[in-house]
């Protein structure tokens, strides 16, 4: 890894299923499968790659939950770990080692440069995953407002969008049931212009919302290893969670 990559995250967009990715996928299956009771549904909706996954976001565990729940191929590339420097911190170093992500730096990344980066993923028949809300939400039944990226990326590349809902990762504990639900794909090849993009954004939002549960979960009194909830969340997310409760 070059010095620049250490600072800004990997630039090479590996969509190949490398040995390193196999190790990551298998390790995550073991870890996530051991800690949680993960169920997946709707995988039959996946079209042939390239396509874009758009998901809600509740927890730092979410990317790992999705990777562990999904098949080994096609490999998923993630858009948007918000980091300015990948050479610091254990979590950043691990992410940098395994790759498969397009980092987002609030100071340097523009919508144009981001679209250019994600088009490279689609050009080699990759799958891009994005947390459309841009940050962690704390309610299972609601979505935060979407950032502009989710619809813009898919529309720019004309790839279908597969809505995804992660249900149950707001509060985690040992062997908690977590469901990863995928919905039918949304076609985007005819989307042109700001109005059509806004309509696409609304359709994606509606599709993800339709996969969410109707009621907030009732938490049991005893939640073994409940520290798992905030284990991978950033300090600002932990503070926001505490403020929201």
């Amino acid at each position: 890894m070059t010095d620049r990559e250490r600072r800004t995250g990997p630039r090479s967009l590996d969509v190949d299923v490398t040995i390193r990715y196999r190790v990551e996928w298998f390790g995550l299956r073991l870890l996530v499968g051991g800690l949680f009771d993960v169920r997946v549904s709707g995988l039959e909706h996946w079209p042939k790659a390239p396509f874009q996954l758009v998901s809600n976001h509740h927890n730092g565990w979410d990317p790992m939950l999705v990777i562990a729940a999904c098949p080994l191929e096609p490999r998923i590339t993630w858009f948007g770990p918000i980091e300015a420097d990948f050479s610091r911190g254990f979590k950043n170093r691990v992410m940098g080692f395994f790759g498969g992500m397009i980092p987002y730096s609030p100071d340097r990344t523009t919508l144009t440069s981001a679209v250019r980066a994600v088009k490279r993923v689609f050009a080699v028949d990759g799958v891009l995953a994005i947390f459309a809300e841009g940050r962690i939400g704390f309610r299972e039944t609601e979505l935060l407002p979407f950032e502009e990226g989710a619809a813009a990326f898919a529309a720019a590349a004309g790839v279908p969008v597969v809505p995804c809902a992660i249900v149950g990762s707001t509060d985690l504990w040992f062997r908690r049931r977590i469901e990863i639900r995928f919905g039918p794909p949304i076609e985007t090849h005819a989307v042109r212009g700001g109005e059509a993009r806004a309509a696409l954004d609304a359709r994606i939002r509606e599709a993800v919302e339709s996969l969410l549960p109707d009621e907030e979960p009732r938490l049991p009194r005893r939640r073994p290893l409940s520290f798992l909830t905030d284990l991978l969340n950033g300090a600002d997310d932990v503070a926001r969670r505490r403020a929201s409760r």
């Binding site: 040992f174 062997r175 005893r222 939640r223 073994p224 290893l225 520290f227 284990l231």
Partner: protein
Amino acid sequence: MLPLIWTLFAVLTVGGFLMIAAYWLDIQDRPDLSARARIGWSAGILLFPLTIPAYAFAGGPGWPRFLRLASIVPAVAMALFLGFVFGVFG
């Protein structure tokens, strides 16, 4: 036989460290514990082969059976370590 025991020891040592971390973090995250109990269980980590099973079975964390069984892993790893130190296996 010795390679098998070494392998078992290595696996249990990793598992033991994970259980120590799980024990510590679980205590810090339990809202139902009083400050005194939290300090007591936290200090008990110095005697982890005894306190982790004691916590799992009698400390009221609500751990499922798998974790309760895993709570004896640090003690078994430590027993194997002492076995190596005192030449029991060789």
